[in-house]
Amino acid sequence: MLGILRQKVGGATGLSSQGLGNHMLRLRPVTSALRNYSSATKEMTVRDALNSALDEEMAADPNVFVMGEEVGEYQGAYKITKGLLDKYGPERVVDTPITEAGFAGIGVGAAYHGLRPVIEFMTFNFSMQAIDHIINSAAKSNYMSAGKINVPIVFRGPNGPAAGVGAQHSQCYGGWYGSVPGLKVLVPYSSEDARGLLKSAIRDPDPVVFLENELLYGESFPVSAEVLDSSFCLPIGKAKIEREGKDVTITAFSKMVGYALKAAEILEKEGINAEVINLRSIRPLDRATINASVRKTNRLVTVEEGFPQHGIGAEICASVVEDSFGYLDAPVERIAGADVPTPYAANLERMAFPQIEDIVRAAKRVCYRSAPISATAS
């Protein structure tokens, strides 16, 4: 009997050699809208974009080091630091014990003294055990020391809902960190974003929270020669208009940019010309770009995966109400994750987060192409 059991083990183990790579394939999200672009430009995955940005910044500045769980010998839980240990050695690619509060604080202390730590959280969920240092030590030191001690640190890792991992491992921290004075919060979507923003974050003199998305790591995006240049940086606090349009503005960040672009394609077929803004930075928030777009389209849909209350959408609505109230032709639609901890069951999980159809419907509603908001508003 145990023989049989062992055979089963053997069978399953054989399968398990699929490993992390395939696991991620299984989790592959909807493909990027940018896929359709010309194949003349080079393609690069978000994973390679992050990896190359780290590599180049480490090569350029010996003060830059990477610290976190499994960043070295394991090559990163999601392989973002792949190859860096071999290249830069264990003094600059530091595997830590599982002690987020400890190594986040160590990072801040090191940054006080002029080093430029890149602290990896295996996922941003675990940053909750380090949040004291992110907020109290990193974000407030420059202020408390009257500008005498700045903290050039990057906290990075995958953020946002993942697939099938339940309540504790699946949530967006954009709203959490986006509300803290002293932090800069970046939210890359494409490979261009990932490279340009990470390089800027590492060179920045202030603490940057850098929210990646696990489900985008394996996505490929076209990258130009300029993006591939080692001097390429993107400005912090500047949004990108991913798609120009005149009928409705859709704001999104991270994985939701891809969803918004897909929704825009569908809307296009129905005669609605949507403008999609990739926020890139949620703190500082590019109010100018958002408001200019809303003044043009007169309609706004905000999209995020985080919890609705006190979220990014709420902040964007406030900025539009403050700056462009008179330009709005319809109530703003705010699409967010459901106000519940992330459920495990696949069908509930799908319901808990925005889907492309949700964006399409909301955009149509603000354009008065369908019945106004249903029971939700009652």
Partner: protein
């Protein structure tokens, strides 16, 4: 003393001798993977050097370090036949269930991170089978088997993993979050270390009930299970302190499987002998061979007895090994398959216990076969049950967020808004 180098002052009386003798190499090493550690970087190199004290030196260090809190020698170390078969059945259940999980995961029936327990069964069965229903167990993301040992029916765990309403958490928790108020499984904590204070709080409650609420017969104990990697997290130390300070009825059970994902225990900790942290905080610390269910049970019996009698907490380090990758998504490339994996595979806790049962004539082949057959059927039935069970209805999305949900997700008619079929049309904000 062989592998159960129980380090507390107390010499544990020898168990039945008929069990397989540990190999010489295994018995002289504290950690099986010591020799395979590759000093591939400067940090590791320094650590290796400080660690390369001889085992004799190490033993004397141990003798100098033990606390003066002693575990009382257990009275009866022998298992009755019924107990032996119960433990065997539980270990088989753990193994067969987890193998089935792997199959179901690859068939897409369960998803996300699934962490299996294969190889560590002696710890769960050795400890939990000694508990009463009122006693509590707090686990991690590697929690299926702790829940099973505590009595949660296999079908309820399997169904949870399938994300179905008949699961022990109605499909809302998933693999890493097993809860059962009925069987006092208090979670399923997926973050490193966070289960430890919660377990300590459960132990605090027992003491509070006895001393403040005058429930004189409240002698419930709590077991906190967690890994070697977790023993480097601050919450562990904070709770060792409070548990000893307040003499709480808790046992900290470290399942030292030598690895935290791809991080070798020896690269992650300044002193790999975790049990030593017990005496440092004024409680007994014990190191036991976690591949030997009898030794685990012997230590567990003493520690649980101590807690029940109000004599305070114990730290038990069980040296064990996981036979699979960290999770079903882990390529598991860093652990040495030739030496380390093979050596531990040769000490499979189930095979060892089976051999002992037969050699000591506690059970015969036919009886054990019957148990194995029964468990296969239990697990098959669990899969059929889970597969046939309904997925949660959409109205479940908003339920259970609060004990008192007024003001959240409830419409003016007093009903959950999600009962309206159109409630997510256009926005997931509900």
């Amino acid at each position: 003393m062989g592998l159960a180098r129980a380090i507390q002052p107390l010499p544990l009386p020898p168990l039945a001798d008929s069990r397989p003798k540990p190999t010489a190499t295994a018995s002289s090493l504290f950690l099986g993977s010591t020799r395979t550690l590759r000093p591939s970087n400067t940090f590791a190199r320094t650590h290796t050097r400080t660690r390369s004290i001889s085992s004799a030196q190490r033993r004397s260090a141990v003798a100098a370090n033990v606390s003066d809190v002693k575990l009382k020698p257990a009275t009866n170390l022998l298992l009755t036949k019924e107990e032996a078969l119960e433990v065997y059945e539980d270990m088989i259940l753990g193994r067969v269930f987890e193998d089935m999980c792997a199959q179901m995961y690859y068939r897409g029936k369960m998803f996300g991170f699934v962490h299996l327990y294969n190889g560590q069964e002696a710890v769960s069965s050795g400890f939990i089978k000694l508990l009463k229903k009122e006693d509590s167990v707090v686990s991690t993301y590697r929690d299926h088997v702790h829940a099973l040992s505590k009595g949660v029916p296999a079908r309820a765990v399997m169904s949870e993993l399938f994300g179905k309403t008949t699961g022990c958490c109605r499909g809302q928790g998933g693999s890493m979050h097993m809860f059962s108020s009925e069987y006092n499984v208090l979670g399923g904590f997926a973050f490193i270390g966070e289960g430890i204070p919660v377990a300590t709080g459960a132990a605090f409650t027992s003491k509070y009930k006895r001393e403040v609420l005058k429930e004189a017969d409240c002698d419930h104990v709590t077991l906190a299970f967690f890994g070697d990697g977790t023993a480097n997290n601050g919450q562990f130390f904070e709770c060792l302190n409070m548990a000893a300070l307040w003499k709480l009825p808790i046992i900290f059970v470290v399942e030292n499987n030598l690895w935290a994902i791809g991080m070798s225990h020896l690269r992650a900790t300044s002193d790999p002998e975790i049990w030593k942290k017990g005496p440092a905080f004024g409680m007994p610390g014990v190191h036991v061979d976690g591949m030997d269910v009898l030794k685990v049970r012997e230590v567990a019996q003493e520690a649980i007895g101590r807690a029940r009698r109000g004599e305070g907490p114990t730290l038990v380090e069980c040296e064990t090994y996981r036979f699979r990758g960290h999770s079903l998504a882990d390529p598991d490339e860093l652990r040495d398959p030739g030496d380390e994996k093979a050596r531990y595979a040769a000490r499979d806790p189930i095979t060892q216990f089976k051999k002992h049962l037969i050699e000591s004539k506690l059970a015969n082949e036919a009886e054990l076969k019957a148990i194995e057959k029964k468990i296969e059927e239990v697990v098959e039935e669990a899969v059929e049950f889970a597969d046939a069970s309904p997925a949660p209805s959409r109205s479940q999305l908003l339920e259970n967020v609060f004990a008192d949900p007024r003001g959240f997700g409830i419409g003016p008619d007093g009903r959950y808004r999600c009962e309206d079929p159109k409630f997510t049309e256009g926005t997931a904000q509900v």
